[in-house]
């Protein structure tokens, strides 16, 4: 994958609420049609989940190119595995299991390069204006990013699923294969570490 000329980015519709567990009639219809082979429904599913999947992958991998590849691979595998998806299963944990696996595989590979996680900023080829924009909000975001990436991968994954993707522990267990008790411990440790690093030493 190459870095082409800078293109304008689009902010996708954030309407799918993170807590939507797939029970809405709209999503159920999409899933049923996509599973039945309706290409348009699958494309709509991509639209619905892309930004959220990219957010998780960016936080897990810390590199946009790696994250985009992991998300793309996840959708391909989702398409491949749709035959095994049962209609009464919650979709989010099923999808996040695929996505988390792809992120683990990606992070296991040698990192091509270190990079700062982008939180909605336009990565226009490291332009000077962006580099100079060290306002407080950005510094805070970057500090969060550094703290997050310093967490062990399992804790980072659990924290993101719980506090960013708003999955229940039962859904997290489905997504990760770990037990609920272990997941609670990972989340607690992640919270303790983040709080210690970002809040207790924040000076406010």
């Amino acid at each position: 994958m190459t870095n082409g000329p800078a293109l304008r980015l689009l902010r996708t519709d954030p309407s799918p609420a993170p807590t939507d567990d797939g029970a809405t009639p709209e999503l159920q219809t999409l899933l049923r049609d996509a599973r039945a082979g309706d290409v348009r429904a699958f494309a709509a599913l991509v639209d619905r989940y892309y930004a959220r999947a990219l957010r998780f992958a960016l936080h897990m991998l810390g590199d946009r190119q790696d994250a985009e590849e992991a998300v793309q691979d996840s959708f391909v595998r989702l398409h491949r595995a749709f035959g095994t998806y049962r209609e009464h299963d919650a979709f989010d944990p099923w999808f996040f299991r695929i996505l988390a696996n792809r992120c683990r595989t990606a992070s296991a590979r040698a990192r091509r390069h270190a990079s700062v996680v982008e939180y909605g900023e336009v990565p226009e080829a490291m332009d000077h204006a962006t580099a100079q924009r060290h306002d407080t909000a950005l510094a805070w975001r970057e500090e969060i990013g550094r703290a997050l990436r310093a967490l062990p991968a399992e804790q980072r994954e659990a924290f993101l699923m719980r506090h960013v993707e708003a999955l229940s522990y039962e859904d997290m267990a489905t997504a990760t294969g770990a037990g609920v008790s272990a997941l609670k411990m990972r989340v607690k440790r992640a919270c303790d570490t983040l709080r210690h690093r970002l809040i207790d030493h924040d000076g406010d």
Binding site: L9, L10, A43, Y50, R80, F82, G83, R141, L160, C191
Partner: protein, 205 residues
């Protein structure tokens, strides 16, 4: 799945602090249109490789492709992607899909070795592109198999493919990311997953 109230059962104390951190992390990233488009292209390639893998209702798929192709094209155009490469072609310089059929047996760019294959030259005007490739059912939708060559004088990109007589669907890919149909060829209504596609009809030599 639970609401935020239940999310605090594990944090012990000072939930507001974790909320503050999580709120920053919940900001959705901006999505690059070409990255999303690549997902659809990868899915289409997946379907080419394993047309039965998802396993159902090919009729529904076929019907859906038509609508999807239109909607995605509109979306890409809105994103300005299709403006990325200039598609103005002079009639004299862009013979394209109804392309002139060459009788030379020397064209071996495509790996099609089927007896009776015909060499066809495809031409595109895309002066802004650094790289252009031909993709199609005859390349397995592989972007690396048929790179086009740019004529510095005219700015035209060209490539010769060998295809068996019949109907083929193809497209151009500029700079590894921008898919476009051949502006001079009929639109392929069955372009998969919204890929811009054109129809190439090849008669028997």
């Amino acid at each position: 799945m639970t609401g935020t109230d239940e999310m605090h059962d594990d944090t012990g104390r000072d939930d507001a602090a974790i909320d503050r951190i999580a709120a920053e992390l919940r900001v959705l990233p901006l999505v690059r249109p070409e990255a999303r488009a690549r997902v659809l292209v990868a899915l289409a390639a997946e379907r080419e490789r394993a047309p039965r893998a998802a396993g159902v209702a090919s009729d529904a798929r076929r019907r859906a492709r038509v609508a999807l192709a239109g909607s995605l094209l509109v979306g890409l155009a809105a994103a300005g992607l299709l403006l990325y490469v200039t598609q103005r072609g002079s009639p004299a310089a862009t013979p394209t899909a109804a392309a002139r059929t060459m009788s030379t047996p020397a064209a071996t760019l495509a790996s099609t070795s089927t007896a009776g294959a015909v060499a066809v030259q495809l031409v595109l005007r895309a002066p802004a592109a650094a790289r252009v490739a031909v993709v199609g059912d005859f390349t397995g939708w592989d972007q690396d198999r048929v790179p086009m060559t740019r004529d510095p004088a005219s700015g035209l990109w060209s490539a010769t493919v060998r295809v068996v007589p019949g109907r083929h669907v193809y497209a151009f890919v500029a700079d590894d990311s921008v898919w476009m149909r051949d502006p001079r060829a009929p639109v392929a209504n069955d372009a998969d997953f919204g890929r811009p596609g054109s129809v190439l009809l090849v008669g028997r030599p």
